[in-house]
Point group: C2
Chain length 145, copies 2
DNA sequence: TGCCAGTCCGTGCGCCGCGCACGCTAGTCT
DNA sequence: AGACTAGCGTGCGCGGCGCACGGACTGGCA
């Protein structure tokens, strides 16, 4: 049982990293957003305005990496760097309106792609899979993360 | 539906890449095998003796990367480079006995870890999850590769 | 109030792994 | 035999990462 899941997970990882998953998802969305910067964009949308350090914990990266990716997104007009009113040392990353639109489009596309591949499943099985996946993440073989 | 699966997949990717998954799995197995070289080792075990180019397709990498990783494994005594009896240009990568043992141990550990986290599930649900995962890989939103 | 240890940021630095392209060896076909 | 193809390993440049440094700012304490 754990055997097959392990193998399947490996396969999943491989295919995802090969970027078959994100391929073509950014068409027409500008140069700034790609498979490297997307996690930061998406994390920002999920987590809300925050500092790079905070977001780093969220996306599982060093502060420096987040800062650099954010710079790209900033150059592309998807993210704004603003002062933190509560603390002058801190810098708040915020999605611009265009950033908001962009992440919405990408999520829509990705969800649509997944939806499409799930549409051939028996509905009950698809639902069970989604639930199982969430559960596996929650108390699966990962750290606390 | 696709929405939640998409989000869950992202989370899964993140946690896996953070290496919480493979952490501590290589203890006592020598320096050669780590999270970088393991896919090559495992792919070789799965696919059988073959050339670097062939294995490259299997693990989703360039030939050069596979060749370099194989060199490390070779230095560690886990992989042997031998001539292909059928074609003198080709070079066959083969697991040594120790390589075999190593991959067996790692699989055992990984499977055990997954098994453990699945043990708290209702058995039917766990089984359904395993089946769903395989199915999702087979005709999920990835390319053919 | 003036000061200093502590906190937070962005960036220079070195490292590592990748893919591309080259040189080389070994088969293949006329 | 000689040209051409196929396959290998490695040098090269690129890009992203984490570490650690310098600069900006805060907050507590004299």
């Amino acid at each position: 049982m754990g055997r097959e899941v392990a193998e399947a997970l490996g396969e999943l990882l491989k295919r995802s990293l090969r970027s078959n998953l994100y391929q073509g998802l950014t068409d027409g969305l500008g140069e700034a957003v790609d498979e490297v910067t997307y996690p930061v964009l998406s994390g920002l949308a999920r987590y809300g305005p925050c500092s790079a350090a905070e977001l780093a914990a969220e996306v599982g990266l060093d502060r420096s990496g987040v800062s650099r990716r954010a710079s790209r997104l900033e150059a592309g007009g998807l993210v704004r760097r603003g002062p933190d009113p509560a603390d002058g040392r801190s810098v708040l990353l915020t999605l611009t309106e265009e950033g908001d639109r962009t992440v919405a489009v990408m999520r829509q596309r990705l969800a649509g792609r997944i939806e499409a591949s799930l549409s051939s499943w028996p509905p009950a099985e698809a639902r069970a899979f989604a639930r199982g996946l969430r559960r596996f993440i929650r108390d699966g073989p990962f750290g606390e993360g």
